[in-house]
Point group: C2
């Protein structure tokens, strides 16, 4: 019978693993065409509003394939539940048999998403980060900031949100993690003071406008993962010197790049793929004044890499 692991077992197994390296390798394999990732499966719900994504795929010739299910029901916190949940399933490529069920409740999706933000910042952030801007106050707002620690020494942070209590909660949480946090409900104030910005909201209208962006800024936009979500004014992608997609195929159908293609602010030749950036092995920006954007929609190869790594780490443990 398949092995089933709980969130606490998964968290323990994850701790010693170098997931950043595994996910970097995944992105480069993906961009080299060594990975099979079919289109994202999607279920949308109206009442209450929610979405469920099924992301799945495999590295050709590897031992396993992975199917990941993750949902976001944004009104859950009103009834005391986390907005995201999900699980990851690890199967054998040789027999199709289900090997392992990771009941991660969305945790591994949160981690692999934060790690992708870290990787984007590693290759794209300016050398001299003056102040980090975090747009949003949810789980990813916390995790994206936490996961920036290995790639920048900057501890000055401005966080934007619509709710002052949520901003204050974020401030108190993240000051406990060694950051100095200023709060604002004015996204312009954040944008004009920060040169490394991560947007983490499920917004359907731009939160950051093009006029506000300073030269030399890098923005990672990771909140928009379906076609109707958008966090950045598409003019930002037009003015940016570098636009990076986690998956070119996927970003043509969802996320910031999709919206900028729709509005005609950029064409399909502009974005390059994250795996190709990583493959250069060094900082991708050429000058201090370049503006760069990383549009992260979340690619199944991230799930394949984190689930496989955790599954292998758990293989020796009792259920």
């Amino acid at each position: 019978m398949s092995k089933v692991f709980s969130l606490s077992q998964i968290k323990n197994a994850l701790k010693p693993l170098d997931i950043s390296c595994a996910i970097e390798n995944g992105f480069t394999a993906y961009s080299r065409g060594e990975v099979v990732v079919p289109p994202v499966g999607e279920l949308l719900f109206d009442d209450p509003p929610g979405d469920t994504h099924i992301k799945y795929g495999y590295i050709k010739g590897a031992e396993h394939y992975v199917i990941k299910i993750a949902s976001g029901f944004y009104k859950n916190p009103l009834v005391g539940l986390p907005s995201s949940s999900g699980l990851m399933l690890v199967f054998s490529q040789k027999t199709g048999a289900l090997d392992t069920i990771l009941l991660d409740e969305g945790f591994l999706t949160d981690v692999r998403t934060a790690v992708a933000g870290q990787i984007a910042a590693k290759y794209l952030a300016p050398d001299n980060v003056e102040c980090i801007g975090i747009v949003g106050t949810g789980i990813q707002a916390h995790m994206q900031l936490e996961y920036l620690k290995p790639v920048t020494d900057c501890k000055q942070v401005i966080v934007w949100g619509r709710s002052t209590p949520n901003l204050q909660m974020f401030k108190s949480d993240m000051e406990g993690h060694g950051f100095e946090i200023a709060i604002t409900t004015d996204a312009k104030e954040l944008t004009s003071n920060c040169n490394l910005i991560v947007t983490t909201t499920p917004s359907e209208k731009p939160v950051i406008m093009a006029d506000w962006v300073k030269p030399g800024t890098h923005i990672t936009a990771m909140g928009s993962d379906i076609s109707k979500k958008q966090e950045l004014d598409s003019k930002i992608l037009a003015l940016a010197d570098i636009v990076v997609a986690d998956s070119l195929v996927q970003c043509r159908e969802r996320g910031e790049i999709y919206r900028a293609l729709q509005s005609g602010d950029i064409n399909e030749a502009k974005p390059i793929e994250l795996g190709a950036v990583i493959a250069t092995g060094e900082k991708f920006r050429q000058t201090a004044n370049q503006v760069s954007i990383a549009d992260l929609t979340g690619v199944a190869i991230q799930d394949v890499q984190i689930a496989t790594a955790v599954c292998e780490a758990l293989a020796g443990l009792p259920e």
Copy 2:
């Protein structure tokens, strides 16, 4: 934490349930447009050959949504493993939370597939079934025959296969279930002697040719569920008086109808949907000589109905 149930628990829970009725209701709701069923997710493997399908959806306004994963790795029996495996996942439509994991190992997919064959025969088979033809000797060959019991008294069966040992095994198994089984490796012999035929193979070339089909025959073709599989000569769909699709949308992309559309033997106006046939509430054939075809590619609403029914039956039991 989510509830996890094993195959034996699932089998026990299933026994008293009227799954045929639940699946009939599912098909009619589907054909009325009350069901959300996105395109099938698919992973294909070359070495060894295999395919994994992800089917998922929900009835609008119901309690749950269901994601089903089923795989077929046709060389597994060579290493002593069943060719099919899988699981079903039942989630809340209100919160997205994973409610129940049914580790059915593909069993519920087998049942809901056999039930669809039963439903097709109920509405489409001739009144006087002279002899049942079963094409193939695998699990579905057994189950399709077993599930015909409630809809025909005929116990005369001819089974076709390529391997005589497999044919003899089928004969001995199904004679234990009250059928009289003749075996053949000549599909023409089967076709010219049977007027209720079920094809259950993963063949990529037609097994049954149009010239062989007797007037008044009904054929349920359930083996072809991806675009490259085909069991019926497309001319059979051309000559048939009635062509029924389990899902019109899906059958335009996979299965016998897809192949007959590709070859130009039929056009998109010919097939009607199984839910519309069921909704008439009576035998759909008008005369004894009509030829009818049911093309079953397997629709997520079948998975939604069987998983939901089993999940509700299990809700009261300890894990």
